[in-house]
């Protein structure tokens, strides 16, 4: 039924008629750091240095590009295909992609942190440029002409003074099987045909007509349906369960009980769901009541004992006048969900050769493979992970859990593909959320309200519990008879950080300190959620600077520019303000404007967001009337791709900021579906204008997480402008706004 599934592992290798047939790429070692004497190569080419690991030139007049990064709806496949087509001088349509397959593609680590373009883009560019050079050398040999003066058009190489040959006619053999040298210079930006233009995304047409696009629609022959039965609470223990009646239910093939891990496998999807429900009802659990509750979370964070206090930045002011005034404010960001529209899904098969093949939509196929192998207690070679697209994930959702669960269930059904797709409740209640955070800001100012000393204290539980090769990070592995303990999560250091991502304000204050109270107790399960700590930190920093500007009676744009020394940062702020019409904006009753800015991770894309809101005092509803975002992502490969990411991030952030908070009581999460965890609807989405600042020839900067932080702050600042009331606790729900306005 599904062509992709008819290709078995070996079949994949012989099925494609590529010319560079030999396939002895040492993928396992490719992830290792290169020997020190070798030249540093661009992006991930530095770790996977063989050109043939990235590019194959096929006899069927196509080029296969192999990348370790995966498509999440961010358009990465299209963007790197644009780069490849340009550097190789072939038509865009000839580029075919294989991505995120542990058996075929370079190990590029995770597709995370807005790193895809910075890490994969330069690698593809360099590898393609070098491949082109190799083809020219082959042509020179064949035509007996010098490479100087050769031109290439859509794979046809023409020598100066006549004579031509195509890539497809050249016997490539093992010619691409060599390390990149770093000596070939990629083209200047002015010579690009595709880079810099909005090429239609290659994955979109199929998605619009019901073509094969997502893992969710894969139906390999003989597939069975698994469903997991989670405990009622995080730490509940299975006391007893009578599985006999469940085993007799229609279609049920297996009831799996392993410690407190319960699952069913059935012939049909609805049979698996019905059996899982019955199994849940039949199970008796020892339940704990240990959660602080959503309303108690802010106090809990401030009072919890941190595992570490991290001096993210310690740059106190050296001498000078004492501050005339100290201003303080505390901000709160609640737990938020990834809340993918499609629940997580995976399909695993234990083949006769003992290899477990897993189709998954994880962002970290390589590390997840390792964690699965360890969980199953098998060699790494006995697990293969292949990425297939899923619904947008926005970080570490349950994609990896689904892969692990499918792999577990596949072990009891050898030879049969076992599919997992969670229920909505299963996803909402069990996914790892974006951590709640408390941000305490303090500033000492001079008599004119200028910042002298700036302090930010960040209170947060972890932001990263990705598998990272550790089975203890899989939800189910923690409930097994022989459980895998969850490793204590770390907080990344500079320059990316985790809880303290974007904790350092980009403003050039005379003194700045950032202290991170890193709490490794986790009342709720948490992990990387789009932007990690950046959303909370930028919300706090950009709200606080707005408060200081207003206290100083200075326009918030002007006040920011006083402290921004980075020209590109200044441009981003100014551009957003100009296009918004900041300086000629007229105040109207009930309306306000606000601005927010950040450079994501202080190293990636720059983004400023300006918006206008209307606040209804009667019902507390905030209506966002319009928003303008400026974006500087360095050299832009796909303008529409950048716009889509910035706009999408802005809308998602509006949803977080206006509506979203994971609710829980002392026992369990109660936000278990879209009714109890509402997100933004069409009528609430304002007109949005994205203004691009292109920097041709400069490095690609990540874009996917640039707009969330600035958006949240711009909204809160606009609400303050409209009402005179400062809201520091998210989300800004009508109830909260109404209460704040009548206080």
């Amino acid at each position: 039924m599904d062509d992709r599934m008819n290709v078995n592992r070996r079949g994949l290798l012989k099925g494609v008629g590529f010319v560079a047939l030999a396939f002895a790429i040492p993928l396992e070692s490719s992830a290792q750091a290169p020997a020190t004497e070798k030249p540093r190569l661009p992006g991930n080419l530095n770790t996977t240095r063989n050109i043939s690991a990235w590019i194959r030139i096929n006899a069927d007049k196509t080029v296969t590009l192999l990348i370790g990064k995966v498509e999440l709806g961010q358009g990465i496949l299209t963007a790197v295909a644009q780069i490849c087509a340009d550097e190789l001088d072939i038509d865009f349509e000839r580029v075919q992609l294989i991505s995120g397959d542990t058996m075929q593609t370079p190990n590029e680590g995770g597709t995370t942190g807005s790193f895809s373009m910075p890490q994969c883009g330069p690698a593809v560019r360099q590898a393609s440029a070098e491949a082109r050079k190799i083809m020219l050398d082959l042509a020179a040999e064949k035509l007996g002409k010098p490479t100087d003066g050769m031109t290439v058009k859509d794979g046809t190489i023409s020598a100066a003074g006549g004579g031509s040959v195509t890539y497809w006619d050249l016997s490539v053999g093992k010619a691409l099987e060599r390390e990149a040298t770093g000596q070939v210079k990629p083209k200047p930006a002015s010579e690009y045909r595709y880079v810099g233009k909005s090429v239609g995304r290659i994955d979109i047409p199929a998605k619009m007509v019901g073509g094969a696009a997502f893992i969710h629609e894969m139906r390999p022959k003989g597939m069975l349906f698994g469903q997991i039965v989670r405990p009622p609470t995080y730490k509940a223990k299975l006391a007893s369960v009578d599985v006999a009646p469940i085993e007799k239910m229609p279609g049920v093939l297996k009831v799996v009980r392993n410690g407190s891990f319960l699952a069913v496998i059935a012939q049909r999807d609805e049979q698996a769901n019905a059996a899982a429900k019955a199994l849940y009802d039949a199970a008796k659990w020892d339940v704990e009541k240990a959660l602080p509750g959503a309303d108690g979370m802010q106090d809990w964070l401030v009072n919890a004992k941190p595992a570490r206090k991290i001096e993210t930045l310690k740059k106190p002011r050296a001498g000078g006048e004492p501050a005339v005034k100290t201003v303080e404010a505390t901000y709160y960001r609640p737990y938020q969900m990834h809340a993918s529209i499609g629940t997580s899904c995976a399909i695993a098969t234990l083949d006769a050769d003992g290899v477990t093949s897993v189709f998954l939509h994880s962002q970290t196929v390589f590390e997840t493979r390792q964690a699965i192998a360890r969980m199953l207690g098998v060699d790494l070679a006995k697990v293969r992970c292949q990425h297939v697209q899923g619904a947008g994930c926005y970080g570490h959702n349950m994609a990896d859990d689904a892969a692990a669960d499918a792999a577990l269930l596949a072990q009891v059904m050898p030879g049969r593909p076992v599919r997992i797709q969670y229920t909505r409740e299963g996803e909402h209640r069990w996914e790892p959320y974006g951590s709640a955070m408390v941000l305490k800001a303090k500033a000492g100012v001079d008599k004119d309200g200028n910042v002298l000393d700036w302090d930010l204290d960040i209170y947060s539980t972890p932001h990263g519990t990705r598998p990272g090769g550790q089975p203890g990070n899989f939800l189910s592995a923690q409930y097994l008879e022989k459980p895998f303990a969850m490793p204590t999560p770390a907080n990344n250091g500079a320059p990316n950080f985790s809880a303290d991502r974007n904790g350092i304000a980009l403003y050039d204050f005379p003194g700045q300190n950032v202290l991170t109270h890193f709490i490794t107790d986790m009342p709720l399960r948490v992990s990387s959620t789009r932007g990690l700590g950046a959303y909370g930190n930028v919300f706090a920093i950009e709200s606080f600077i707005d408060e200081l500007a207003r206290a100083a009676n200075v326009d918030p744009v002007e006040y920011r520019l006083r402290y921004l020394k980075d020209e590109r940062a200044r441009d981003a702020v100014q551009k957003a303000a100009d296009v918004f019409g900041w300086s000629k904006w007229q105040k109207r009753e009930g309306r306000g404007r606000g601005i927010g800015f950040a450079r994501y991770k202080n190293t990636a894309g720059y983004c400023a967001v300006a918006m206008e809101v209307e606040v209804n005092r009667r019902n507390g509803r905030i209506r966002v009337l319009r928003a303008v975002a400026s974006a500087d992502s360095g050299h832009i490969v796909s303008p529409d791709g950048v716009i889509n990411q910035i706009e999408g991030g802005l809308i998602q952030s509006l949803s977080w900021t206006l509506k979203e908070e994971v609710k829980f009581d002392d026992t369990r999460v109660t936000s278990d579906d879209w009714a109890s965890y509402p997100i933004l609807t069409f009528s609430e989405v304002p007109p949005i204008e994205v203004v691009l600042i292109n920097r041709p020839g400069t490095p690609f900067l990540g874009t996917g997480e640039a707009s969330q932080g600035p958006t949240g702050a711009a909204l809160a600042n606009a609400v303050h402008d409209a009402t005179g009331v400062r809201f520091r606790r998210l989300p800004l729900t009508p109830d909260r706004v109404r209460a704040g306005l009548s206080a």
């Binding site: 009667r618 936000s671 009714a675 009528s683």
Partner: protein, 427 residues
């Protein structure tokens, strides 16, 4: 019996029409089509607000068609009546109407040429609108974009397709004269009463009508029917389970939703979408009037009712043994199709508090279940999908029976099967 009343009424109408014949109406002079008159901006602006207050577009604009170009079909007990083009287009609209013709139509239900208009156009209410507001409305409609759209022919049964009979209808039922303020009440109260009784024409739906389709004079605002929906009693006849408060009624009228009253669905959606566009002070005035005239309850009672409704809705199924076989089926359907959203933490209004479950007939519930809810602009997250094709006729009927029993103490509905049938036929 119904037929007898009907013929008796028709006879009355016929008799009255003889008298009416003597009062035939003159054609008023056409205004020059061009140049179109110019009006002061503030007059047009006032007219725009009034047009929203009256929700003129709700009937005079068909979805997707040019604003105010008419053609929207209104289902009445007498057949389908199509709204007319009220853009200033000369041939098919009101482009040739002078102000006098416009005001006469609004107050007396007579078009420019002297023909009678059907009282689906609620001129019995508009008669109360004062001259200043009439002029503002005329200014507004005269400055709209002209659209060419021929009026559709009404689909009415005999004898209602005989227009001259309408003169008699007016003679019998039209109370003329503008709104008379009550000097014992505040200015705001009077402003509100003027809107409710006049241009707002709330009574057009919220009042019972006699066999000839006229509002029963002694039961104004006591609740009525429109387009198969029950419009509950309001003002003096309000009987919502949770008594309306100023805040809750304001929320309802502007946002189309209040947590203790639910959603403005059916024909009311368009009304609140229009009210959301006018000055809040105009709605405040209506609220002042409606709240002041409603029966005064015991304040503690309201809290108790709301608490009870929440407890009952969110505390699982009905007590064992209290449901019939069909009601049990209904309960299972409710659990499968409804309880995913109508649950604690689901941000819905307890069903026991809304007008739908408390209506005298099943029309509202059946319509919502089958057609779903496209929410008012003020409450965009309150969508509900259509279940017309997801549920079979029996499913819907059992569901309605169960819900009525579970969420109210009112007598069972008997009309659910017919309503489902009608809804399927109307598709």
């Amino acid at each position: 019996m119904g037929r007898l009343i009907f013929f008796a009424s028709a006879l009355t109408l016929l008799a009255a029409s003889f008298f009416a014949y003597a009062l035939r109406h003159a054609e008023l002079p056409a205004r020059a089509a061009l140049p179109r008159p110019v009006f002061p901006a503030d007059l047009v602006q006032r007219g725009e607000k009034l047009a929203s207050l009256g929700a003129c577009a709700a009937c005079h604009t068909r979805p997707g068609a040019a604003p105010y170009s008419g053609g929207h079909g209104l289902n009445t007990p007498f057949g389908v009546i199509y709204s007319t083009n009220i853009t200033p287009e000369a041939e098919t609209g009101i482009g040739l109407w002078g102000e006098d013709a416009f005001i006469r139509a609004m107050r007396e239900g007579i078009d420019r040429r002297g023909g009678m208009l059907y009282p689906a156009f609620p001129y019995d209410h508009y008669a109360k609108v004062n001259d200043a507001d009439m002029k503002a409305l005329y200014a507004y409609f005269s400055t709209r974009q002209p659209a060419r759209a021929q009026a559709k022919t009404n689909e009415l049964s005999f004898p209602f397709n005989i227009r001259p009979l309408l003169a008699a209808w007016s003679l019998l039922f039209l109370e003329s004269g503008p709104y008379k303020p009550d000097p014992t009440k505040s200015v705001k109260w009077n402003e509100g009463a003027y809107y409710v009784e006049g241009l707002g024409h709330c009574g057009a739906c919220h009042s019972p009508r006699n066999a000839l389709g006229a509002v029963k004079a002694d039961a104004r605002l006591a609740g009525g029917d429109a387009d198969g929906w029950h419009a509950p009693g309001i003002g003096a006849h309000a009987k919502a389970p949770a008594t309306w408060t100023r805040d809750s009624l304001t929320n309802y009228l502007i946002d189309g939703w209040d947590e203790n009253h639910g959603l403005a669905a059916g024909p009311m959606t368009a009304v609140v979408n229009h009210l959301a566009k006018i000055d809040e002070s105009m709605v405040d005035a209506m609220v002042e009037y409606l709240i002041d005239t409603q029966p005064k309850p015991d304040a503690g009672e309201r809290t108790k009712v709301i608490q009870l409704a929440r407890d009952r809705e969110f505390s699982g199924g009905a007590p064992a043994g209290t449901l019939s076989e069909n009601e049990s089926r209904g309960e299972a359907i409710f659990a499968r199709a409804c309880a995913n959203c109508h649950k604690r933490g689901g941000q819905t209004t307890p069903l026991a508090l809304g007008a739908v479950m408390n209506a005298p007939h099943a029309g509202n519930l059946i319509a919502i279940v089958m057609k779903g809810v496209q929410p008012p602009t003020g409450a965009p997250e309150k969508s509900m999908p259509r279940f017309a094709q997801s549920l079979k006729d029996d499913d819907i009927i059992d569901l309605a029976t169960y819900m009525r029993k579970r969420f109210t103490q009112k007598p069972a509905w008997t009309d659910a099967p017919q309503r489902v049938k009608d809804m399927r036929a109307a598709k």
